[in-house]
Assembly symmetry: C2
Homo-oligomer: 370 residues x 2
């Protein structure tokens, strides 16, 4: 099947680029001597997670229990759920803990107490990582605080919990606008967990896992000394944000949305990929104020120079620069849209059409919901 | 089941408010003597569409062929697909035209030619509306142009097409910041199609359908003279955008997202409803610069005063005003989030939990994809 045939809008994954992106990050991890535990929230596809591990169901990171359950059912047996577990999700998480190695994330005493109690009642010993705030200021304990040491000790002392170590995520690296600042943030990300791990070890705790990772910091780090695993996710697809911010080249971007023109005038073309098909992520506006809601590529993947200027539910509007020859874009013409944020765009689709040599060679379903 | 029990995040629909919103718009249509053809893209639920028609599968508007197919399968037999049909969707649309009354939307000669040809080949006579641009400048023909009359005539002269009339959508009413400007736009919306309908009739064409409608304009119009049907959609749920813009009261908003606290510090709470569960619609920022990505309500639906300040994939961050007492929001505490744009938020969920008297009394699945 060529790109003229599938229904639009559809999510496309370029197999060659996907393999290359996966290989590169596997080489980064091997070179640094750390475990690669990719964050599968980016693609939500067991097929792609296997590609990230050269065909095997290796260790992965998830952002929802629905992902954990579906990947477990697809053969993945070592999963870290990298969002602080809240009491309402404990019963469901423990069900899965009986089947696979599901490592949970804690960053406060309330959830730690509830989890320890529930695990002990079920005679389980649940592997736990303490989430550390390395500067993102979303979740996590302050690495320099007395509370962080206290919480680690409390977890280690709980019969229902198995304290495995520390986890952090430098989400603030997404706001960095130069390689130098990403490199600095990667340093802070590493230091936050490595130095806390050292303090905990000095206090007699065993810290097996020291986990970091975001796609920007795993592209530009200087050192991973003391780190045991990395959890990048976006790198397998990349997107307009990552390319603008220097985490990849434009030609590394592996996920696009196939779309058809529904309307053409002198001022604009309108595509059938709107806010649902693309997501309304505002992209790299800080570096590229005219980025719009995505780049319009031709079917071969080359930039047409056009940008999605406005999104409504099922319409993607493309304002045409004055004098632009839109004769190639009559109603029914097809384009590919390079999204601003591939994780959010991918989550809008129930499957990927897998593209190789200009042909659709496979369809891979995704996991949705919570 | 109370709100303490369902998994989070989940989409909630308040049944009493839904019924009241549905009743009101049905009364508006009856009062104006026009057909109500609600746009079901807002909710994508056959159950809700029946409520909009007091229990019957009445006429509806859809934004995708997937919606058309699913609603047809659920008993709806009079459906208008209100996006210009593009050549790649004709075969699929004609399959459905054999089963139900599916009215298609055209706004240019290319698609009109392709549709006429395909319909004639299948010995079908497909009902068609001409989409008119009343100022939204997205799709549609210029109502005053010679081309609009020419296209209507061409459709009317095609043996495969049944020219039914005109359709327009004042999407630009969403940008209006006062009732007066919405009223003015409602007037332009009506005039654009009514005056073109008169010109076409003067030229000997029959124009049975004159269709307008957006939730803002259907709330504030002065006259619907000459209009035969209205297609509002959002009114059944409303949202923070519509309440800020005066299309409804805050207490009319019927759709919220149930969410749990996963992290609490002095500076913020973090919820398990992120960019996927809520969508990244920026909401009524023009009128309410601090609206964030949604209002945090308590479980009874009262505003806590908190706003979603930042969204990442599965995290909704709420910056706490200094001195705010967050003791009610420990990890595991539950809140409801009133979304900025209910259509986009609803599209993120596979079902609604139906809320009545503080209890979940039903679950209604939604239709997804294209």
């Amino acid at each position: 099947m060529t790109l003229a045939e599938p229904p639009t809008p559809s999510a496309l994954v370029d197999l060659g680029l996907l393999l290359r992106n996966a290989d590169r990050m596997r080489a980064v991890a091997a070179g640094a001597g750390v475990v690669l535990r990719p964050h599968v929230k980016t693609h939500k596809s067991p097929r792609i997670a296997r590609i990230q591990h050269a065909g095997r169901p290796g260790p992965i990171t998830v952002s929802t229990l629905a992902e954990a359950e579906a990947f477990a059912a697809a053969g993945f047996e070592d999963i870290t759920y990298a969002v602080p577990i809240e009491p309402g999700k404990i019963v469901r998480a423990l069900l899965l803990c009986r089947k696979i190695r599901l490592t949970l994330d804690l960053d406060g005493p309330e959830a730690a107490g509830a989890l320890a109690c529930a695990a002990a009642k079920e005679s389980l010993r649940v592997p736990v990582l303490l989430e550390v705030d390395c500067g993102d200021h979303r979740c996590g304990v302050e690495p320099e605080s007395a509370e962080s040491v206290e919480l680690a000790r409390r977890v280690a002392d709980s019969s229902g919990l198995d304290f495995r170590g520390l986890l952090t995520h430098a989400g603030h690296s997404y706001a960095a606008t130069s390689k130098e600042s990403v490199r600095r943030i990667a340093g802070e990300e590493r230091t936050a967990v490595v130095s806390l791990a050292e303090r905990l070890r000095a206090g007699g705790l065993e810290v097996s896992t020291v986990s970091v990772g975001s796609t920007p910091t795993m592209t530009h780090f200087e050192s991973l000394d003391g780190v045991t695993e990395i959890r990048p996710g976006n790198y397998v697809f990349f997107d307009a944000f990552q390319a603008s911010h220097g985490s990849c080249a434009w030609e590394d971007c592996a996920m696009t949305v196939l779309s058809a023109v529904v309307h053409r005038s002198e001022e604009r073309i309108v595509l059938d990929a709107g806010a649902i098909a693309l997501s309304k992520d505002e992209g790299p506006r800080d570096l590229d104020p005219s980025c719009g809601f995505g780049r319009v590529l031709d079917l071969e993947g080359s930039d047409t120079g056009l940008r999605i200027s406005k999104l409504t539910q099922e319409h993607g509007e493309v304002a045409l620069p004055s004098g632009f020859d839109a004769s190639r874009f009559p109603p029914g013409a097809r384009v590919r849209i390079l999204p601003n944020h591939s994780c959010l765009t991918a989550a809008q689709h129930a499957e990927y059409l897998v593209l190789e040599g200009g042909e659709i060679v496979d369809r891979w379903p995704t996991i949705r919901g919570w």
